[in-house]
Every structure is written in structure tokens, then in C-alpha cells.
């Protein structure tokens, strides 16, 4: 962690794991909780949540490799993309219990996930085959898939505007798109 704006190094947290004491696993993704009190990361052993101020491990969620994580805007949930299980999984931050499993009906290659700013939906972007991709949205509370947008290429990243329903994404091949969708929740 570095301080903005002078970029002084504040803290380096080794990603130690009891399953790999000699070789901390490579961090696949990381994110601050919305209140800044926690920093989460995904790796080959699941998710770890640490205290931001000193890096103390506060919760470990064992799972297969998690390559992308996202905190819900209210900080109560953390989601992980599990490529090997073809699923998005959501856990409660308070105790690490599993809250929801959102299955993918196709390949789930190079996935990334993000909660929408309102927190009622979660999106996954992924390669649905070796060449094509998709953006999929679910209702967080009941797990319903509310939209799938197939794309001709793998989708690489997605970002949400604070303006409800507006999102941007990039695809392999160099395309960037800003779109709007009004979801039936």
C-alpha cells in the first residue's frame, strides 16, 4: 500500500497461507472494503481478508482459485469468481459463510466480477468459449440471472458509472463500449 499523493510505501503484506508456509501464493486480485478497514485478496487457496492498518489476517475463506473479487457496496458481502467451478460465489464478510452460488452455463474463462454501485446486482464478464464472451448480471438477493449479453470476443474489464444502469467494458480485439440497461429486478 502506498500513500497518495506522495507515493510513499506504507505497508507490504506478505500473502502467507497455512497451506503454503514457505511460498506465499501469488495474489490474483485485491480490493479494499468500502469503509477501508479491510483489504481482501484472491489466490489459489481462496480469499483472505486482512486489516488494512497492519495486515493482520482476520478471515480466511478456503476455496479453489479465485481470480477476481468484489466487495458489496455496503461491505457485508464479498464475491469471488471461480473459473474452475464455473461459478460466482458470494460470502458473508462477518463470518465467511457462503451466501450464494451463481452458476455459469458456459465456459468461464478469464472471469472478472463487480457489484453494481447500488449493490443489488452483481456482474461477471468472461470468455464463454475460446473466442466469444459474455456479460452476465444476477440479482444478489435471490440469485436470479437477470441478463446475459453475448459478445463476439472475450470481455476483459467492466466498470460502472455512478449513473444507474450505465456501464463500460472492453473486449479483446480493442473495442470499448459504454452501454445502458434498465434491469427488471
Amino acid at each position: 500500500m502506498w500513500h497518495v499523493p506522495d507515493l510513499t510505501l506504507l505497508l507490504t503484506i506478505p500473502n502467507n497461507d497455512p497451506q503454503s508456509p514457505g511460498l506465499p501464493p501469488r495474489v490474483k486480485d485485491s480490493a479494499f472494503s468500502p469503509d477501508g478497514q479491510l483489504i481482501g485478496n484472491g489466490d489459489i487457496y481462496g480469499i483472505k481478508l486482512r486489516r488494512t492498518i497492519d495486515g493482520t489476517l482476520v478471515l480466511r475463506i478456503p476455496n479453489a482459485e479465485i481470480v477476481s473479487i468484489s466487495f458489496s457496496p455496503d461491505g457485508t458481502l464479498i464475491a469471488g469468481a471461480v473459473e474452475s467451478e464455473r461459478a460466482v460465489k458470494i460470502w458473508r464478510v462477518a463470518d465467511g459463510t457462503l451466501f450464494r452460488v451463481l452458476p455459469i452455463a458456459s465456459e468461464f474463462q478469464f472471469p472478472r466480477i463487480a457489484f453494481t454501485p447500488a449493490g443489488d446486482l452483481i456482474a461477471a464478464i468472461y470468455g464463454s468459449s475460446n473466442t466469444s464472451g459474455a456479460i452476465q448480471f444476477w440479482n444478489v438477493n435471490d440469485g436470479r440471472s437477470v441478463a446475459i449479453y453475448p459478445k463476439p470476443n472475450h470481455v476483459r474489464t467492466i466498470a460502472f458509472s455512478p449513473s444507474p444502469g450505465t456501464f463500460a467494458y472492453t473486449e479483446y480485439g480493442g473495442r470499448v463500449t459504454v452501454s445502458f440497461a434498465r434491469f427488471v429486478r
Partner: protein, 108 residues
């Protein structure tokens, strides 16, 4: 299922965009490129280029705005290179002299 996706704007670029981030106020997009050392700032409403920022390494792995939209931070570096953090104060002036880079000591 939900309603259709309405595309507000879309554009193709020969130098692929690797990632995208909205500014906190939603007015700007930062787009990091895969094969060059530039990160583009665009107007979110129409995709018009505000300016391009030059980093010290190719491949912008991540770009984020600070919560107050005062700064844009990106992480750069390809496999085998030292990863760098770039930080620029917003709004960007006519040159990128305010764009600072620090090596992280980490290798991609």
C-alpha cells in the same frame, strides 16, 4: 430476463484497451492500453479523448481514480518488467509533467 443493452457509444482501436475505469463522478473514463504505454482519458458521455497519458512501461494492468477524482493511478508493466505505479493529478494540464512514476520493486 432484463431489458436490452442500449449502446451509448462504442469504438474500436488497433491498440487494444486492456481495462476501463469510471471517475468517481462518472464524467470520465480511463482506458489503459495493452500494447503501448498510454492511458487514455475520455469523456464518458461521448468517448471523446480528453488526453493521453504516457507511462514508463507498456501494458496498463489497472487504472483507478481516487475517490475525490483528484488523481488517476495506474499500474504498468509486462511480464519480466518491474511494475510501476503512475499517479497523475486531475484535471490534467496540457502536458503530462504532473504524471509521476515509481517502481514498486515488484516484477510482473
Amino acid at each position: 430476463m432484463g431489458q436490452d443493452e442500449w449502446i451509448i457509444w462504442t469504438k474500436q482501436d488497433a491498440d487494444p484497451y486492456l481495462n476501463v475505469a469510471f471517475s468517481t463522478d462518472g464524467s470520465m473514463l480511463a482506458l489503459g492500453r495493452e500494447d503501448s504505454n498510454t492511458t487514455d482519458l475520455l469523456k464518458a458521455k461521448n468517448g471523446n479523448l480528453i488526453r493521453s497519458l504516457t507511462a514508463t512501461h507498456n501494458r496498463t494492468n489497472e487504472a483507478v481514480f481516487t475517490l475525490d477524482d483528484q488523481y488517476l493511478i495506474n499500474g504498468n508493466g509486462s511480464s519480466g518488467e518491474t511494475l510501476t505505479l503512475g499517479l497523475g493529478e486531475l484535471p490534467m494540464a496540457s502536458d503530462s509533467s504532473g504524471w509521476a512514476h515509481i517502481p514498486t520493486g515488484l516484477t510482473a
